[in-house]
């Protein structure tokens, strides 16, 4: 259901909208943090946060409140809050808008988050390319410190909170939480084995919570409104998927961008109502629902959920475009919600060229720690290259399945799945097109991704 909101985005585009003055004037900035720090106990904050049903916005969709509740005070070690703003998933462009246009929501969220989990420092890990985002965050931190919202005694409460912006150096893998922690500690960004989970041993071997930037930015809104009411804004509140979130749409649409809506929006609404429809009024070919690691959906895909217990049974037999964008609903469609930023492809787009483009990405970004992923991503790309060159054989096409299946589940982190799932998704849904390349009916040099030449 399409319900546009502006809890986060009201200050977007305003003159000096990223300043404290605008945040306080338009969005009642820092009232939630003040209320939480001066009137609530940390345990109550966690209990209240659970009611908001904020599912992690970074891709995995883990409930934020539950994650906070894993944090147990340690007798000797401090706790840390780490915010993941290493936005690098192809097709994802939401966190950058928050950092650039509403950085104070992040700072306020950090204050509440730190208080809830007993941390005194929050590290915001921003990818290095986003220089404007980093500048805006630092500016927000300075403004908040000057007002006494951050520092030794925020709002007069004897609970020191500091926020620090840390930068990476251009590695997609550092968006994986344990890899991010290694990078924060000054090491190579290679993922760690789990367990121990970050809540037991995270940053600097201390208990740590890692939240996505959009997740933490949603916290002030939830607390100022009342977490239960916030959750109920969602039309799939009953699936424990609550609140409002940012929906991105890009690719072949008329109005790409970021839109804030209540959870429960469908892909059809995102593409045609918010995105303005397909460029040149062409038909829809396919859509990648939430970043390149989520398997592609064809425009003609139907929901297959005959089991009444399935969360998507209600839409059985209907188009996947009419299913609300939710963590559990999309998991049951054989894809994932991911970061909720859809990449749209118009009719005439070549799925094999899309596959080739994405395999280049995964080959480049594999960190090289686990053999199946390091070698497998290279093999996948090599066969994709041969497909485009027209030298691929049917055996090699079949090998793609084997290679992808042997990456799945055999790596330390989920990058392996992130590579194999979209590869298998394309192979499953566009086998005919792949075979056309093997037979030589189609040639790589004719494959186009853009609809028309850049003018």
């Amino acid at each position: 259901m399409l319900k546009q909101t502006n809890y986060l985005t009201k200050v977007y585009g305003l003159p000096q909208g990223w300043k404290l003055a605008a945040y306080e004037r338009e969005l009642r900035g820092y009232e939630a943090a003040k209320k939480v720090l001066t009137t609530m106990q940390p345990a109550d904050v966690v209990a209240e946060a659970k009611k908001a049903n904020i599912r992690g916005r970074g891709g995995a969709g883990f409930p934020m409140g539950v994650k906070w509740s894993f944090m147990k005070p340690h007798p000797t070690k401090p706790a840390y809050l780490v915010i993941n703003a290493d936005e690098g998933e192809p097709g994802t462009h939401k966190d950058r808008t928050i950092m650039e246009e509403n950085p104070h929501s992040v700072i306020e969220g950090c204050i509440i988050g730190c208080y809830a989990i007993g941390a005194h420092v929050a590290y915001v890990y921003v990818r290095d390319e986003l220089h404007l985002s980093k500048a805006r965050l630092w500016e927000a931190i300075e403004e908040a410190k000057a007002k006494g919202y951050l520092g030794k005694k925020p709002f007069g409460k004897d609970f020191a909170v500091d926020v620090v912006v840390h930068t990476g150096a251009g590695a997609y893998i550092c968006g994986e939480e344990t890899s991010l922690l290694n990078s924060l500690e000054g090491r190579r960004g290679e993922p760690r084995l789990k367990p121990p989970f970050p809540a037991q041993s995270g940053a600097f071997a201390c208990p740590t919570t890692v939240n996505n930037l959009e997740t933490i930015a949603a916290v002030p809104t939830a607390f100022i409104m009342g977490c239960e009411e916030f959750s109920k804004l969602s039309s799939i509140h009953h699936l424990n998927d609550g609140g409002v979130r940012l929906f991105g749409v890009n690719g072949h649409v008329k109005k790409p961008g970021v839109y804030e809506c209540c959870v429960g929006l469908t892909l059809r609404e995102l593409i045609f109502d918010l995105g303005g429809g397909i460029l040149g009024d062409k038909g829809l070919h396919s859509v990648i629902p939430g970043g390149s690691s989520t398997p592609v959906l064809r425009a003609d895909d139907l929901v297959d959920a005959p089991d009444p217990k399935s969360p998507v049974h209600e839409w059985h037999g209907k188009s996947v475009l009419d299913v609300p964008l939710g963590v559990d609903t999309f998991r049951n469609l054989g894809t994932m919600l991911g970061t909720c930023c859809a990449t749209v492809m118009a009719e005439g787009t070549d799925p094999v060229a899309c596959f080739h483009n994405l395999m280049q990405f995964y080959r480049h970004e594999s960190c090289g720690q686990c053999t199946p992923c390091r070698e497998g991503s290279g093999w996948l790309l090599r066969i994709a290259d041969k497909l485009m060159e027209g030298t691929c054989t049917m055996e090699e096409l079949n090998d793609l399945h084997d290679i992808a299946n042997n990456i799945m589940g055999n790596t330390i982190c989920a990058f392996g799945e992130g590579t194999a799932m979209p590869a298998l998704g394309y192979l499953k849904k566009y086998r005919k097109e792949f075979e056309a390349y093997v037979r030589g009916d189609k040639k790589g040099k004719d494959a186009k991704l853009a609809l028309e030449p850049l003018s």
Partner: protein, 278 residues
């Protein structure tokens, strides 16, 4: 000669060191500082950082070789990164790369003979909604057309940094822009509000990030074949917290369609993140 940081950067490094419980954590920020000064990371810099942070040289070398943004060879005065990943490719990144190569007379990965420009491709730079885009040094240039790309390349070939749209727009207070939130529902004391769906196509929440490119007018009407147009259902203003003034929602009809029956969802066990986050 051994590498030394300039006094300002050295002070900055001392300040950075206070932010973390370990010296090692300053490794990446320290390398960034050194690279800012020198243009690329050479062996002297690796030794300098290792000594400064009391780390083995091999550790620092390992970090430098892991991350893409540390240049291990000298680069041009300006670096141009063209995003080539799928969302940009769908909007013409291939043409952007070809045009840059043609204008600069170099291939991707090369530096112009006069040492002014290095051309590289980048993987997704989180600017998919404003594709195609390039990054020149620290600035993003989005919603590119051949004309705007030419302007950037022209100033680069003269050895000047092109006007940075985003950063320069951020610096001075911009002229009052049309308030994007104007069409939203009556402002609620909560700050934000839920906007009732209307027949007019909604605008993206950010003017600068909204795509108006490739000759597509931003005011394009909805396509004729727009399927399943939702009926104009109005939704009540969001509820307010107890401590706030009583809500004053206009009397509105409830949503037309039947709400889905609540489903029992199995509580998932301690399921950890399954996926690298975006």
């Amino acid at each position: 000669m051994a590498f030394e940081l300039s006094p300002e950067r050295d002070r900055e490094l001392s300040e950075i060191l206070t932010r973390y419980p370990t010296k090692m954590a300053a490794c990446i920020p320290a390398l960034h500082l050194c690279q800012d000064q020198n243009g690329w990371v050479n062996e002297e810099i690796i030794d300098f950082v290792a000594k400064k942070l009391e780390l083995p040289t091999s550790h620092v070398k390992g970090v430098v070789t892991f991350y893409t943004l540390f240049n291990q060879h000298p680069v041009g005065k300006h670096q141009v990164w063209v995003c080539r990943t799928l969302p940009c490719a769908l909007r013409g990144a291939g043409d952007v790369i070809a045009h840059c190569e043609k204008r600069l007379g170099i291939k991707v990965g090369e530096t112009t003979k006069d040492g002014k420009v290095t051309l590289k491709t980048a993987e997704c730079l989180a600017s998919c909604g404003t594709a195609p885009m390039i990054q020149v040094d620290k600035d993003y240039h989005e919603n590119l057309t051949i004309k705007s790309l030419d302007a950037i390349l022209d100033s680069l070939m003269k050895g000047q940094a092109p006007a940075a749209k985003v950063l320069s727009a951020a610096a001075p207070p911009p002229a009052p822009a049309p308030v994007l939130t104007a069409p939203f529902a009556a402002p609620s004391p909560l700050g934000g509000s839920v906007k009732p769906p209307s027949d007019t196509p909604p605008e993206p929440v950010k003017s600068k990030m909204a795509g108006t490119m490739m000759g597509v007018g931003s005011g394009a009407a909805l396509p004729v074949q727009k399927p399943n147009t939702i009926p104009p259902v109005r939704v009540p203003a969001p509820p307010k917290p107890g401590s706030l003034p009583p809500p004053n929602p206009p009397p509105l009809p409830a949503r037309a369609s039947k709400p889905p029956a609540p489903l029992q969802v199995e509580k998932k066990e301690e399921e950890e993140e399954k996926k690298p986050e975006g």
